[in-house]
Point group: C2
Chain length 212, copies 2
């Protein structure tokens, strides 16, 4: 099975399958069919089967998919059977909420270092993680083998912080700043931008009241 050709939209959906399968597992289900799995994440059954077919043959005709088996396979394919280490840059309100967010650890991610340029914050400890000065970024990324940089700084600083993380060697960036940053081809970028989400939502909210 040639994974390198699987398209991006499919890969983006895989974590949703993993999450749904984990739920099913917790609920004690042994098998699941594409209809049920699809309903959990609001994806058509044919789409579920097609997505999975790009990765292998995981099901049994007439029965469905083994919940624990399919979950493990998808987790392995996504690399979620390892632990990934990340650092956080920007320990303001948002950054503190990110450190304290309980969802990353079960998801497979550990934030092992935090950096901020504010001397008031440096030296403090947030959620058990010491806040280091920006000057220690490069050394720490290398020493702790950090592969992911999480960026929670103001828009104006985001690009330079991202450049710095990339230079230090991270392979992925999770960017919370409201900018469209540039990264080299080899670096994977994900943006978290609730304002953009809301600003497209309003278009549809208007429909209800827009004079046609």
């Amino acid at each position: 099975m040639d994974l390198s050709q699987v398209s991006d939209v499919v890969i983006l959906r895989l974590p949703m399958y993993v999450r749904a399968l984990s739920q099913l597992l917790d609920a004690g289900s042994e098998v699941v069919d594409s209809k049920t799995l699809g309903r959990l994440i609001r994806i058509a059954p044919a789409q579920v089967r097609k997505d999975l077919s790009y990765l292998g043959k995981f099901g049994k005709q007439g029965q469905g998919y083994s919940v624990p088996y399919l979950r493990d396979e998808l987790r392995r394919i996504l690399g979620l059977d390892r632990r990934w280490t990340a650092c956080l840059v920007g320990v303001g309100n948002l950054g503190q909420a990110i450190i304290d967010y309980p969802g990353f650890v079960p998801g497979g991610f550990s934030i092992v270092a935090a950096f901020d340029s504010d001397p008031e914050l440096v030296g403090k400890s947030i959620g058990g993680i010491p806040v280091r000065p920006m000057s220690e970024l490069d050394g720490t990324v290398e020493a702790s083998e950090i592969t992911i940089g999480i960026v929670a700084v103001p828009a104006s600083q985001a690009q330079s912080v991202i450049d710095r993380l990339v230079d230090a060697g991270v392979q992925g960036i999770l960017n919370y700043a409201p900018v469209a940053p540039h990264v080299p081809e080899r670096v994977i970028l994900r943006n978290i931008d609730p304002v953009l989400s809301l600003q497209s939502m309003t278009y549809y909210l208007l429909q209800g009241s827009r004079p046609d």
Copy 2:
């Protein structure tokens, strides 16, 4: 120009254009061409022109687009020339960071009420907004004409909170909980899910080290 047929992907991109145009305006640019605008948000020039062509004819051949004019038109189309009121449910770490996040207000959104089920939090004031008990949700949404509900509660409570917001009359939900909630057709849902973003990122991070 029939806006009701414009596809979702196009609408999702419009706020990015608005943001880029606002930057250009701040920088003093009067006109912009599709190449420059596209470069700012990493979209191909032909895509920029095609997207805009679904909404009208905003440019001048040989010149480009008037920055202030195009920005205003897009803002109007998205409904960003009005102010939208939202309420927040769940005033934990994440909720507090959301209230304090300075990006919503310039984006066109005001959080005018906050709710939590924790009696310790109720009555306190976070970022100038009093935290109310859940029992006041329905009445406040109606009285303050709140159209958007922002959900920052644990996964286990998300669906019931969302049901409650929908029943109270909100038309849009911005969901930060790691679940795929069900909402009626008429309600617009946007999910903010950084863990899913990271979990698809790892697939690509693995590529560098995956034995082919």
